[in-house]
Amino acid sequence: MSAPSAASPAASADRRRPQALSMGPLARMAEGTLAMVQAEMRKLRHDYLDIVTRSVQPLLWLFIFGTAMRNNRALTLGTLDYRAYLAPGVMAQAAMFIAIFFGLAIIWERDVGQLQRLLATPLPRTSIVLGKAAGACVRTLVQALLLLAVLAAAGIGVRWSVTGVIGTLAMLMLGTAAFACMSMLLAAAVKERERFMGIGQLIMMPLFFASSALYPLKVMPGWLHVIARVNPLTYEVQGLRQMLVGVGGSGEVWLDFLVVAAFFAVMLLAATRAYPKAIV
């Protein structure tokens, strides 16, 4: 340990490089992100009931609200079963809930010590935010598979295709990652945990109602239409709807992906800058 060295510590250019830096920054980032994803999968294995209870709310929307509104032809876009129309919206909403509460929960006492420690490791900071976002994606993925299974079992008119399902899962995870980063950004701004719940709701519900999750954009009044047009959740839902039931907004799935991906990139950058400051 106390290896003799003639030069002063500040001046010695030949001192050895710490072993943890033998991996390059990208390798460290990948390793850290994967470690966080694996930790999340392990947590789910220890407590799978959590995902089941969280899936109750989207199912209530689908089977109670969806069934009640089933015969409203303005909402169903012609012949489509409203529950099929609603399914992608409800899936996106459930994923957004996971993301927002996941982000908020990590500033709670439970993980504050963990995050302080992570910041004092050679892990790149982007990797901490990315790893947490990926952790939320793991939960979304499991929940989405569960919801898709229910849709199939209930015989709701979804157009099943391999690419549709893969695209759906990809879009949901991209959206979750983006909203998780947004939530971390929010957590950086609101340090009092008593406020989190209120502010979380304050952000989530307007995003949900001012999107195409529940109803088509064309039934909205002008002002709401404008808000919905700049709401990333709208694009997530449109993309999902296009891939799952074959109807949607523009019909350009790539555009929906592009908007959600751009939203994710901006949120990731912002959260990487702001979030670590909130922990220290």
């Binding site: 340990m1 010695s12 930790a39 993980d111 992570l118 004092a120």
Partner: protein, 274 residues
Amino acid sequence: MSASGADPALLVDGLVVRFGQLEAVGGVSFAVAPGEVFGLLGPNGAGKTTIIRVLTTLLAPTEGRALVAGFDVRKEGLAVRASIGYIPQAISVDGALTAYENLDFYGRVTGVPRRERRERMTEAIETMELAPMLDRLARTLSGGMLRRLEIASALLNRPEVLFLDEPTVGLDPTARGMVWERLQALGVQAGTTILVTTHVMEEAERHCDRLGVIDRGRLVEQGAPAELVARHGVETLEEVFTTVTGRPIGEQGNEDEGRLSDVRAQRRVARRLG
């Protein structure tokens, strides 16, 4: 052991940290030799945690210089982070994971090479006597076990310097003794340098090789516990503190410090460990 001789593992020189108008650390200097257990002793709000945050690169100093394992915290933050272990006062293991999974997680995020990970984990498990509790979820472990698990997880990257912020808060006397015993063994056996903060006089006196007494952001005295007691011609460290600061350690030094959120956080930790 003294700070002269080999290059110090820690060198703090004229460190100042200001938050706006508030000066949390006002010109602190000290050095810690490799393998030494150095204690920062002072009341809540004295600036101990702020110093640790600077040395672990979580906070940039306003003025002054600090070298950790020979690396500058300002210019070589990454190399510093790769050379240290850090256990904050708040619980840093994940209660929803088992003890083993927590170790595996920290092995990965601290950059332990894959081929060495298993061996390092076995080593840390032995050192901290964790074998019987590896498959238990961390939230079911007692306070003493949790702290040992945290220390084990901070040893995987074989840190040159280990930082611990109030590691015995909330622990019963037996668990406290066990934690200190392990820490001292680390210094002796592995040559790990340890910087630990505490506000418990008795622990500082019994377990630290040398101490720095911090009060209102300033280092008011430093030396080996016995040396300090002898220098001031008193019986206990508590009396040393009273002599150098003019008041007993129990009294809050700075009324702006020890904010509600800090106190609440400390109590939460104590409750979870207790």
